[in-house]
Point group: C2
Chain length 433, copies 2
């Protein structure tokens, strides 16, 4: 078998079989097939796609390129959630303890995101003392005792994905649905989960800008899962506007705390409960989504999700006193309001621009070496549909270093648009597959 | 400027400008842009193409990657011919002396072909003593005195093409018309020619299998030439069947000798005269193709083309005695006839299979290190349209090593097809652009 013939086969729109995909990925992972062949293959896949079965073979081959986390001795159903990422997306921090409170086991491993929004690990680490580098034994103990644990991805899991992703990043081949699918799925399955709920974000603040793109990815995830005999539920959710009211690492933790006290913003509560409920259904702990949603709401109101969260923070070394007394928690040095200039009804807050502004304040890193400031971010005071008068505060900027404040303010101003007439509220959940 | 952004631009179907193409090619040639980015770019070009102007920029950037041969002090019009290669294609060896006899200067530099058919250099080197590695001074002297010289390509000319071609070969990106165009044109222009005639071969024995593909390449060559202010004439010629009667290195030289005595097979004579006549027209030595063809036929019949050929062979160190007394020339050890089994009219001789068989006998190399046997090959005794009876000889196999003779015979048998009714002869020249 020769790599060049397989590249040609894909280039000419043919389907690669399991042996061929194994040959390519194993060869790449072991250094026998060079970068320059895999990058031209990736470009051919960009143009010609892959069937769901092919994507399944690719997923499996990538899993086999490294270690897998064996969680088979954990009692209970192992179910995870994955999101393609968005602005103000703190869902994982509420969903994981909630799912655990419902009786599921959630082995959550997160990447350290680059780009316009902080990753889950950055949010967790904004809690003083919180360790995301548990050993495998600790990870399993936390799963058994508490029902969930949240750690960083291990270097030894799916090394082919690590290598392939770095290559795709510099060869303009990131935006390929089968390659995105295999990258997401291989990591989740290698990390020991049995099935997943995927939150496919869609809109200006997300990787998928249009509903059509998001549907393509959602379908690919669900059907590739099917080809691997794994149950996958995909929820396409709106990320054209930030989720909830807080953007930034510790600011989002504050919103997690209020949400676990059933006082979170409606859009965040509804989406989180919907996603958790699908996990409950996938795990067989409820017969249907309505029963599952009811169970989730109960586990919020009776305080058991909050209790799970505190147990987890304590286990992973975080300072729960900070969470119990939020007034003592870290706060940014400067809190600067942004005031409305127009009169009208808030039509839209552009998530992408909000995310950029938050990144500019230091909430996210654009290079691996960059520091992340836990307390900085943006606090929304008005949301879509709200009536606004000139001079009213639209949001608060939480900043440490004000050197870029003018740029931040300009971005924030640009992210607001208004309407003369009142508007119906938008839906977060756009579609479920 | 970042390579990844330019790859993305091409991937998304946009046109690259001159600076962008210079950046990519200069960066690649100097090692600043890695193989893996250029291979994904090449795959994007495969799918999205390039405008003629873009292809012109690419050609220029490739020329600028290395040395150019300065022939500006040679008196006369410098015109060359390029062929995409075929089975039994010995046109260059007749055309170059003929064009010189007409008064043109032909600076011919050839590559050493790999694949199913020997290259021009192998054919020339089958003449005992013939040197294709003239120095630049010798090359120029031969051009001035004789009017043509035939040498191998210099390593220092168009190094970007050398590097890019090697990469395309292993990344399934050879079959891209703009990339093929820039590869051919950059070499020809860097080697000092002012304009060219391109013989675009089409059919089973050629790189371009269909007329549509050949037309695409011909148009790209002519229009890219126009964008560079160079006059180019493209002739699409049939390569579904071998050209002439002889296939193999010295066997083809024998046919060159008879052709230069005006005794070559009609298809070979006609095509060679047509191509040379277009060179004469491009060079301004005749007002139209009819006058030019007449001039060419005269230069064959009056022996002046043959005289030029002998002068060249002598200058380049070849043994002209062998050419003057062909009976003394090297002959293969075994000459084995292939006999017809069927009755009918010869419908077609598959050029590709003939080429493979000839390569199997040792007339071509599949790896750089392989030796080439000068005397081996195939001599056709029947051609398209001929009536054939069972037991009649179809061709003669000239072989040295008979270890693969059964395979060769099977290939040859398979390459013949017959018709019950007589057939009109096919045309060699299919189209001119």
């Amino acid at each position: 078998m020769r790599a060049v013939d397989l590249i040609m086969k894909k280039r000419d729109g043919q389907v690669l079989n399991r042996e061929e995909i194994d040959f390519l990925i194993t060869g790449y992972a072991t250094g026998k097939i060079p970068d320059y062949q895999i990058s031209s293959l990736a470009m051919a896949v960009f143009f010609k796609g892959m069937t769901f079965e092919e994507t399944g073979f690719l997923t499996r081959a990538m899993i086999n390129s490294g270690d897998t986390i064996d969680l088979s001795d954990i009692e209970g159903v192992l179910i995870d959630k994955h999101s393609t990422g968005g602005v103000g997306d703190k869902v994982s921090l509420i969903l994981a303890p909630l799912a655990a409170a419902c009786g599921l086991k959630v082995p959550m491993m997160s990447g350290r995101a680059l780009g316009h929004t902080g990753g889950t690990l950055d949010k967790l680490e904004s809690i003083p003392g919180y360790r995301t580098n548990l050993s495998l034994a600790e990870f399993k103990e936390a799963l058994e005792k508490i029902g969930f644990a949240m750690i960083g991805q291990s270097e030894s899991v799916v090394p082919a994905d690590r290598k392939l992703y770095a290559l795709r990043d510099v060869t303009a081949t990131v935006e390929s649905i089968p390659l995105i699918t295999a990258s997401i799925m291989s990591k989740k399955f290698a990390e020991g989960a049995e099935s997943f709920v995927f939150d496919v974000k869609c809109g200006s603040g997300a990787f998928m800008k249009t509903l059509e793109q998001a549907e393509g990815l959602a379908l690919s995830l669900v059907e590739t899962g099917r080809s691997l005999n794994r149950k996958i539920k995909a929820v396409i959710s709106d990320m054209d506007q930030p989720l909830g009211l807080m953007i930034g690492n510790f600011p989002e933790v504050r919103e997690v705390v209020s949400s676990l006290h059933n006082q979170g913003p409606g859009d965040l509560m509804d989406l989180t409960i919907r996603l958790t409920a699908w996990m409950v259904v996938l795990g067989g702990l409820a017969a249907d989504i309505f029963t599952a949603e009811k169970l989730c709401r109960e586990k919020i109101t009776d305080g058991s999700a909050w209790k799970k969260f505190l147990e987890n923070v304590e286990y992973q070394g975080g300072d729960i006193e900070v969470l119990l007394n939020l007034e003592r928690a870290p706060r940014a040095q400067h809190i600067i309001p942004l005031k409305a200039e127009n009169q009208g009804f808030l039509k839209r807050i552009d998530a992408f621009k909000m995310g950029l502004a938050s990144g500019m304040l230091g909430a996210a890193r654009s290079r691996k070496e960059d520091p992340v400031f836990p307390a900085v971010g943006i606090e929304l005071l008005k949301v879509q549909g709200d009536a606004v008068k000139p001079g009213e505060e639209l949001c608060l900027i939480h900043g440490e270093d004000l050197s870029k404040i003018d740029e931040v303010k300009k971005l924030l101003k640009d992210s607001y648009s208004f309407n003369e007439e009142p508007l119906p509220p938008g839906e977060r959940v756009l579609k479920e597959l």
